[in-house]
Amino acid sequence: MPAALLVERLTKRYAGPPAVDAVRGIDLEVGEGEIFGLLGPNGAGKTTTVGMCTTRVIPSSGQVRVAGVDVRADPPAARGRVGVVTQFNTLDRSCTVYENLFYHCRYFGMRRREARVRAGELLTTFRLADRAAASVDALSGGMAQRLQVARAIAHRPELLFLDEPTSGLDPQSRIALWEMLGDLHEQGTTVILTTHNMDEADRLCRRLAIIDHGTILVMGAPDELKRRVGVETVVTLTLGGNHAAAVEELSGLPGVDRAAIVDGNVLAYVAEREGTLPGVVEVAARYGMTDLALAEPTLETVFIQLTGRALRD
């Protein structure tokens, strides 16, 4: 599979003061037609990485190729091949919904007639046709986001980058956007998205990289990553007693990989359920257990195993 995106030893240092190493040597390869996710907490370097892939941030060192184009050597050609949805609403406030699409098409070389047809087509696909003449200020958050996606793909880019596309969206709009991205994927567009929402990453991405402090911690398919942590079950315990002492005692139990305090609860990562759970429950009971829940490992588990922190922190 040829690479749609190739990132090699990419770094970005902001001079500051204080100097910040936002990205510290990232390597990535995303195949044509993949949906790939960059999962990590806020400030992990996801947005900077996307910025470098889309010509908006100038790398300090390293290389990026999008659809074969060296982004640093030829930014205009790279821009012709990517579509970008940023974290913020960057719709053109001086133009109507229709005009946002129409002029975008014109920037990318379509003739008037063609741009008109394409804009109309997108308005229908993204269920915005009845708003064509509206000002973009009058759109709801979900509609504005749909329009941003429509605009980003209007010139039929080979790669679509979305930076935190669903943050700030209501659940319904979020699901609608997920469906839209699924459709684009089916049509063969390579989709690269950043998120700090593990459900989103798990649900959408065929492959993902977990990123923290500007480096990639681990990369692979979501199921594979979850398997790789060697945890069969995560036990969430609500305790009345001393959490730290409970964690220490639970960590010492055979069959418990590790224990940690997350969001005020004690989590025990159990490598093998059989024979281990009774011991866990017994310890927890002594620390005033009021509730207990069992769950499969999630990407959150993977992140906590790797960093000792929760993603939301």
Binding site: Y14, T48, G51, T54, T55, R56, V57, I58, A67, G68, V69, D70, A73, D74, P75, P76, A77, R79, G80, V84, T86, F88, N89, T90, L91, D92, R93, S94, C95, E99, N100, Y103, H104, R106, Y107, F108, G109, M110, R111, E114, R151, H155, R156
Partner: protein, 285 residues
């Protein structure tokens, strides 16, 4: 991409004529698209544009050419020249400069900061410097339009008594260069100004430039205040006013046209360089 949408070659190939032409076609299409977008927005806001362009000069001529003479405080130009004759090139000049700043700088401050809506245009497939230059060019076109509105308004204002003797080629050259310089000044201000201090653009830039821009008097008349005459040489509006005097009212004292035109070209080049640098700094991290 579709077949009518030209696309750049994936690998930077040897710069053969055909490849260079294909690349130029992509840039030209994107640049044209940006101009079309700005034209559309201007058409929608055309009434505001006219008010913005005409209001200030209209009040100037009203006060100086109607109110003052009527209350016995009339001003006369040096020698036999009417004050209207002195004022005409000055007011066209100030309309050009004002428009350049209002059309380029003020929207840019917003687009960079509050809304970041410049984003989509910066992501168009052309060099960032050309996106910046489009701003200058479109600002220049609005300046030219403002000049075209203000010129007859002052000329035909009742009791303006303007005497003109137009050198058409020189006028066209002065207008084109002045409008481009005004657009470049707008870009420089728009990319360097702190958005929280927009009101200061008026008090720190527009008002001093206007009052010391040789609108109400020819530059040569300042010879009685030598230091001021020297200081005003830093003001681009002086060269626009004086250049237009050379082209429209050559009978009044004015700078030699090669001087005013030459310095305006330098302003245009220097401010374009500064503005493009500021633009790149704003849009690229």
């Amino acid at each position: 991409m579709t077949d009518t949408a030209p696309q750049l070659a994936a690998q930077p190939p040897p710069a053969t004529g055909r490849v260079v032409r294909a690349r130029a076609a992509v840039y030209r299409a994107a640049f044209w698209g940006l101009l079309l977008r700005d034209t559309r927005v201007l058409r929608r806001e055309f009434k505001q544009f006219i008010l913005r362009a005409v209001m200030q000069p209209l009040l100037f001529v009203f006060v100086f050419l109607y109110v003052f003479p009527h209350i016995g405080a009339g001003i006369h130009g040096p020698g036999s020249a009417s004050f209207g004759t002195i004022l005409l090139p000055g007011l066209v000049a100030v309309a050009i400069l004002f428009q350049g700043i209002q059309a380029v700088a003020l929207p840019l401050v917003n687009e960079f900061n509050r809304t970041r809506e410049i984003e989509d245009r910066v992501m168009a497939p052309l060099p960032t410097n050309l996106v910046a230059f489009e701003k200058i060019l479109f600002g220049a076109m609005q300046s030219l339009l403002a000049a075209v509105l203000v010129f007859p308004m002052v000329l035909f204002f009742p009791s303006s008594h303007v005497h003109i003797d137009v050198d058409v080629p020189l006028l066209l050259a002065e207008l084109v260069v002045a409008c481009l310089a005004a657009g470049a000044l707008g870009l420089t201000i728009g990319t360097s100004w702190d958005p929280r201090q927009v009101p200061l653009i008026f008090s720190l830039i527009l008002i001093p430039i206007t009052f010391l821009g040789c609108i109400y008097y020819p530059w040569a008349a300042l010879e009685k205040i030598r230091w001021l005459q020297a200081v005003t040489l830093a003001n681009p509006l002086v060269y626009i006013s004086e250049g237009l005097r050379a082209a429209i009212t050559p009978n009044l004292r004015h700078m030699p046209w090669p001087a005013s035109l030459g310095v305006l070209v330098l302003f245009f080049v220097g401010l374009t360089w500064l503005g493009m640098r500021g633009f790149r700094r704003r849009v690229l991290d």
